[in-house]
Symmetry: C2
């Protein structure tokens, strides 16, 4: 790595090399995992480069290739698995200066990779009354490029599935890391090579995403005495085809009362809740359905949106997905979490009874190839790595999936299948292996076993063509 040559080749492209600031930009939310915290705490890049255009990105990647400088792309750094951390040093490629919405049509939007999702929605709502189909709970900070390269789904996935599904990303523009970097328009099956690949096979500079109609979503909190009743209700609600919902999340007691400070006024500690976002035209049906199912409506944002102190409540989605964990960590820094999937209520019940308050349950109802499943983001009262591994084993032995958020490689995280097509594409797009090095085992290990037989969230391309996804 020749950093002097690299810097000289960058011309007037903005950089930052103050060690403190570089270290800040070299981190994501890896520290949600005590295991990653110990492993990655010392990781830092040598400098941060902040391109302003596709041309700038081409210049940076040509220089990286010439001077053997590792490049780790960064959106907002809200990822959880050390995904955006520069294991081999070199340069962070911070996309924050490329944040423009480029084109809005009634059913789609095209934006630069560094565009913040909530800003994109503000623009598309104003222009065509539409919004992104789904977004992570980090909506107010995260970039569209970072979401595609590092995320999976979120608020809206109960209706639209996730980034893993055909149709949820319409097109990408990427830059390769070669002697003469190419700017490629990616469409069709190739899109899935880039999704959730941590930027290991190309820098995303633009993304085109489908839009859904925007609503003034009504936020509702429904209370239940028994957590399993809240799950039964949530599953049945997700199956109500006539009730338009954007989010359904059952959270077991005592998490809501203990961690959701701003919601305390209307909660009891022994109450489990379901957090809901519903379209205005479906509120009446939701209310009726809830009364049929014995749920107690504790809060409705269309009736009241203030806390007891008269302050506006935060958006409900900032209590869901990994924000549930975040709110927990603010109160109790010893907890951590898992990412799981329970195919049926029986699976969920079994694990819940087995682990009880050692793993307070937090579920996100999502669509998975047309079925409604229980995606889990349970809180784990952490007592050590060994016990965590045991909890994972308990899940797997009982037919539940785990996507391990305590691993920084694509393969060990378990979400993204690396197959031969994927690896071949990386060889073309990044022949020197400079893009986010250390994150793809198949690249580093010539003996990598492609046919592990496990279930992946983002299936490999061959798998998809066989109709698995």
């Amino acid at each position: 790595m020749d950093l002097t040559g690299f810097r000289a080749a960058l011309g007037d492209i903005p950089i930052e090399d103050h060690p403190k600031l570089v270290q800040q930009k070299s981190r994501d939310h890896y520290w949600y995992s005590p295991i990653l915290k110990a492993q990655l705490d010392q990781v830092t890049a040598d400098l941060v480069v902040m391109p302003r255009s596709v041309e700038d990105v081409v210049t940076v990647l040509a220089a990286a290739y010439k001077f053997d400088v590792p490049i780790t792309p960064r959106g907002a750094g809200t990822g959880n698995y050390g995904q955006a951390m520069p294991l081999a040093g070199g340069a962070m490629l911070d996309l924050k200066n490329m944040d423009k919405v480029l084109e809005i049509k009634p059913d789609r939007v095209r934006a630069e990779a560094g565009a913040i999702m909530v800003k994109m929605d503000e623009e598309t709502k104003a222009a065509v009354g539409a919004e992104l189909r789904f977004h992570p709970s980090t909506y107010r900070m995260a970039t569209i490029g970072g979401f595609i390269a590092g995320g999976s789904g979120g608020i809206g996935s109960v209706r639209w599935g996730g980034l893993r599904n055909l149709g949820n990303i319409l097109g990408l523009k990427i830059v390769t890391c070669e002697e003469t970097p190419r700017v490629l328009d990616i469409a069709g099956a190739d899109i899935m090579k880039l999704a959730h690949a941590y930027g290991t096979n190309g820098i995303i500079v633009e993304a085109e995403m489908p839009l859904a109609p925007a609503y003034d979503w009504v936020e509702v909190v429904v209370g239940f005495d028994e957590f399993l009743d809240s799950c039964r209700y949530a599953e049945a609600l997700a199956g109500q085809d006539g009730i338009l919902l954007k989010e359904i999340s059952p959270v077991a007691a005592p998490v809501p009362y203990d961690y959701f400070g701003r919601y305390r006024d209307f909660l009891r500690q022994d109450q489990s809740v379901v957090l809901i976002m519903v379209a205005p035209n479906s509120v009446d049906a939701l209310t009726l359905f809830t009364s049929h199912h014995g749920g107690e409506i504790l809060h409705r944002s269309d009736v009241n949106d203030l806390d007891a102190a008269g302050r506006k409540l935060p958006p409900i989605y900032e209590f869901t997905w990994n924000h549930t964990t975040l709110r927990g960590l603010k109160i109790d820094s010893t907890i951590t979490y898992l990412q799981t999937q329970y195919p049926t209520l029986e699976h969920l019940e079994k694990i819940h009874r087995m682990l009880g308050d050692e793993m307070p349950m937090h579920i996100e109802m999502t669509r998975f190839d047309g079925r409604i499943v229980f995606s889990g983001l349970p809180i784990v009262r952490y007592t050590g790595e060994e016990r965590l591994e045991e909890i994972i084993r308990l899940h797997e032995e009982n037919g539940c999936l785990v996507f391990n958020p305590h691993r920084y490689t694509l393969e060990e995280g378990g979400m993204k299948q690396t197959d031969r097509a994927q690896l071949a594409f990386k060889k073309e797009a990044d022949p020197k292996g400079l893009l986010n090095p250390g994150k793809m085992i198949a690249w580093d290990d010539p003996d990598f076993d492609f046919d592990s037989g496990r279930v992946w969230l983002f299936a490999g391309l061959a798998e998809q063509a066989r109709g698995a996804a």
Copy 2:
């Protein structure tokens, strides 16, 4: 029944009493069933009354009550089960003069009961870029009141389920048939008392319906050599959460070639097809998915919308739902049809192999309480009532549902559960039993068995509250 007194009490409300014209208005599409054709051919009303306003409807129903005149409401008369046929004579109440759209909001529309659905959509599309969530294939003729009182679902039900689902009807205004008719606003759980009740418990004068975003839906025909492959594809496609679809209908060879004349140019006789409506932002993903599944794209309306003679093709939805049967009847008047539901592909396969070309399959993929099921509208090569009953029995013995379209009562049709709450409501709204008499067995038979244990499309109210729907 005192018709002279009744007519005198109507004032200037338009009527028609020419026997030929009255008979025309006393019929629906009952003749799709050879059984109903024989039973109902002689049925006719004494006159047709055509109210222009809610006040007119109140006047008519007060007069009907006073002079004991049966009243059978009629929208466009496109129902299939003799639903709108006046078994006891009296007056047809033709809603055609009450066809105005009253209010449009971005997420809902309110219209008079006689409004034609395609006209409603024209207005809401122009005003707010939205359309009804789903509509019957008789969209260009049928009224919203007739759909609610007599229909079940249609194009869009693959996404939104049917009229049976909470949230798909927002509110109704009805008029009761009492000494002093009441005008009632119906909301919440009560809506389901009126849905698919054939107007036996109140005349719908207004309906409020939720809207979905309108798209220039692209029509696609996909060909398969094997019918079961087309069903496998259709089921998997319906489970693609990221591909926005409005219609998926597999139709077995030789139906498409033999009956879909205008589509012949691009069909082979031995080909089964899947008829699809897809949003523009999902066409690419559909194309990719189709190639993964070995389907052949035979037609795309965004590439070509003319037949070989240069004429614009009819909308694809007029080949689906009961239009498939209609197109068959135009070629071969000896056929008829059934209404079925196959819970899984295995059920469907079993019946298909058993009956083969005696019952050429036609499936509509629909959402049913969150699951994707195969709703059947198979063609039946009719050889007599006995064999038809046998075919129905074969279905039921093999775990498949039949909603018998050869019966004119609510209960025997099998779609609508009459329960005690429903009957109690009829006693209030129509104490003399003048509204569409002869269609509700529970009204006529004091020994009616409420607890038959069968599965109903429109579950009774008690059933719904128990969470069955």
